[in-house]
Assembly symmetry: C2
Homo-oligomer: 431 residues x 2
């Protein structure tokens, strides 16, 4: 591992104007002064990719994905050249690299390619020559030499993959927020930035809709144990949020964050004759249509009949209802109904593994607010509840308070203590 190398990724708003690009160059200049080498991964300037997508849609109903990739990859090339120039104008040796030049090889699934390997020979040489490398994110190259792109959040994934390939000490994701929060600050006034989140928690949060990091990027970091830091490119000196492996020495807070998702819909089939294979009859056509079901509940109702509910993303509701109405007839369900005025509230925390009573505490705080729980699902480190949408804000705030997230938890303080204790111990050992 190269202790003095970091990979930094700057998103579209962080390089959205020439002024912002100059600001990023200044930030890199300061890090270089500490003797740290920097590889930078940039997104396209904010708005550029949307502009290109719009042009493509106007000129062709269904553009070929290979051509989309050539088109979309140009935005990152432009921002990488401009940031390289901004660094050079400060006297910092810098070199831009495209996906091909950085050796990022992918499969051929255009517009959502997966990284196969990184041949970082040229990057290593450039680092030896003391250059800052400014990489065009989001893009790679397939075996045929065609440009590929990595899909949504692809630049984050480029950054983590490069950090792994180059043996960086950490990968820093600069964005327009200053870290990962206990809850959405627009919804919960007392939401706090978290100092540390485990990969597992971050994965749950990302899959529950936290937009700060893409799932793939976190998975990649997790797989290769690359510490990730989310920071604001606007705030100087902020520590951001560190995403890393859970440490057995750490005492985790029970809950790290509360998420909500209003973009949910529920479909209910009433009085389905309860026979083996019914679930398959229902969910196979849904899956075949490419729709993703989230939660499923089945209640036994009277006389060999069952009620079955499931949730999915609201934008998939109409398509799902068309399918369900056909199925309902086929399987002799009495009734199909849809409800899109719901929210999913989720509580995420690695500490749940070692703490019982989390679900009980959720039920208690929601019932105190007279909020009815419509559905529940749990994973090892997550509990999700479906509630009526009008209660979203009250529910999130109540849970935020109930799990002690309004204040900096003592548990986190105890991590700090643990760290100090560990350092003292190792000093003692050396003696």
């Amino acid at each position: 591992m190269n202790k003095s190398l970091v990979v930094q990724k700057y998103g579209g708003t962080s390089v959205g104007t020439l002024d912002r690009i100059r600001h990023v160059a200044q930030r890199i200049a300061r890090i270089r002064e500490t003797g740290t080498q920097v590889v930078v991964v940039v997104s396209a300037m904010a708005g550029e990719t949307d502009k290109l997508v719009k042009m493509a849609r106007e000129i062709c109903d269904n553009p070929e994905r290979r051509e989309m990739d050539l088109l979309l990859s140009s935005g990152e090339r432009i921002s990488s050249a401009l940031l390289t120039m901004a660094l050079q104008s400060r006297g910092i040796p810098a070199i831009s690299m495209t996906g091909r030049q950085i050796g990022l090889q992918t499969d051929s699934v255009h517009t959502r390619a997966r990284i196969k390997q990184i041949d970082a020979k040229r990057a290593r040489q450039a680092l030896k020559n003391n250059n800052v490398i400014v990489v065009a994110g989001f893009q790679g190259i397939n075996e045929q030499g065609d440009v590929t792109t990595l899909g949504r959040g692809g630049s984050d994934t480029s950054a983590v993959a490069l950090a792994v390939a180059l043996g960086a000490s950490q990968c820093e994701i600069y964005t327009d927020v200053d870290g990962v929060y206990t809850a959405d600050p627009r919804m919960v006034p007392k939401a706090r930035k978290l100092d540390v989140v485990s990969y597992d928690e971050m994965l749950e949060m990302a899959s529950l809709g936290a937009k700060v990091l893409q799932i793939r990027c976190v998975e990649f970091a997790h797989k290769f144990q690359m510490p990730l830091v989310v920071k604001s490119s606007y705030i100087e000196g902020g520590k951001g949020t560190l995403i890393c492996e859970e440490n057995a020495n750490m005492e985790q807070p029970v809950v790290s964050g509360i998420m909500y998702d209003k973009n949910q819909a529920k479909i209910t089939l009433k009085e389905v004759p309860d026979q083996p294979g019914i679930a398959a009859n229902i969910f196979e056509p849904i899956a075949a249509a490419g729709l993703s079901v989230d939660m499923i509940i089945q209640n036994i109702s009277a006389e060999g009949h069952t009620d079955l509910s499931f949730t999915l993303g609201r934008e998939e509701l109409n398509e799902a209802m068309v399918i369900m109405e056909k199925i309902a007839k086929k399987i002799h369900a009495v009734n199909v109904s849809a409800d899109s005025k719901i929210s999913k509230i989720s509580i995420v925390g690695a500490g749940m593994r070692s703490h019982s009573g989390v679900a009980a505490r959720i039920f208690k705080s929601l019932s105190k607010e007279k909020i009815n729980i419509l559905m529940i699902s749990t994973s090892e480190i997550k509990v999700s509840c479906i509630i009526e949408q009008k209660h979203t804000k009250a529910a999130v705030n109540a849970l935020h308070k109930a799990f002690g997230l309004d204040k900096k938890p003592t548990a986190v303080k105890s991590i700090e203590k643990q760290k100090t204790a560990t350092r003292k111990k190792s000093k003692a050992k050396k003696k």
Copy 2:
């Protein structure tokens, strides 16, 4: 040679909007219907390259040329992807190719690279598969795998080089004018489009400021004997102007075109002591400063003194005067003066090789208009005169008339006859 393959190049205004791109796709569709295969080379959408250059200048006083090349090459990639999509949406099989994918290898002189070779293997395969290939013009790749650009008019050069590499029957340059004219139509109302111009004439015209084709592109076409056609992308069915080798069978008109250049300046040194080495003393520092002198005249004045005048581009006048004032002192010239109110009028015609009396006819027509000739220079197929700038329009029109360019010359008609005669002869031979 592949008789059924043409290379077409569309400039920035020809692909300047999505509508224009659709129009180009339609044009290609019609050519395809005749069974002809098409390779298209595109420039960046009009205004894009300027926008990128402006951003680069704002962010860095003196951007590195390697980074400029990465930046500037993105415009052509965007237009090639968009045109490919427009073709695909018409059901025409099409594939975009970057400079690298088309195998255009250059030296490493960034921002004005020279083409070393084209490895057209992949292009040949794409043509075998009946694709229209849409090539991002202006760009190649050097040995290190870095993007290079070919400098001003680079896309024209890309097109000719590809036409040669692929054995196309001709290379068509689509632009916003419908061909090469006998004179600037804004200056000469009776200016006519030329049907045929020889490479040599076109080279002279291009170096005298005809913007329709770049010198390099014509040189390249000349070297490899690739017929060039300049056409308008706005006018349907126009024949444009064919630029090809002079044919011994053709009877050329004496003069093909009249050019003018108002962007000239003259510097005069009065009463320079006439000693050997004086010219070197003057022109060495001018050349060392990178200034290009065009015409030079030296007159003997009285008593071992000489007057010396030369012309250069107006934008170089100030720099040249600073140098000349120093030199004037050193070589004891009595006086240095500058004149930027001049024009250069040039008469170009391959027919001059076999016709005498061209200069006499120029002098006569200008004197009839009471226009004084300040300087003259000649080449094998060109005569240039410096005159006072206020007389530009009168001079160009007088010469246009004097050399019979106002009407379609009989000489051109005789070319047509010759061609017919040649065809008849060859038929006769076959019999």
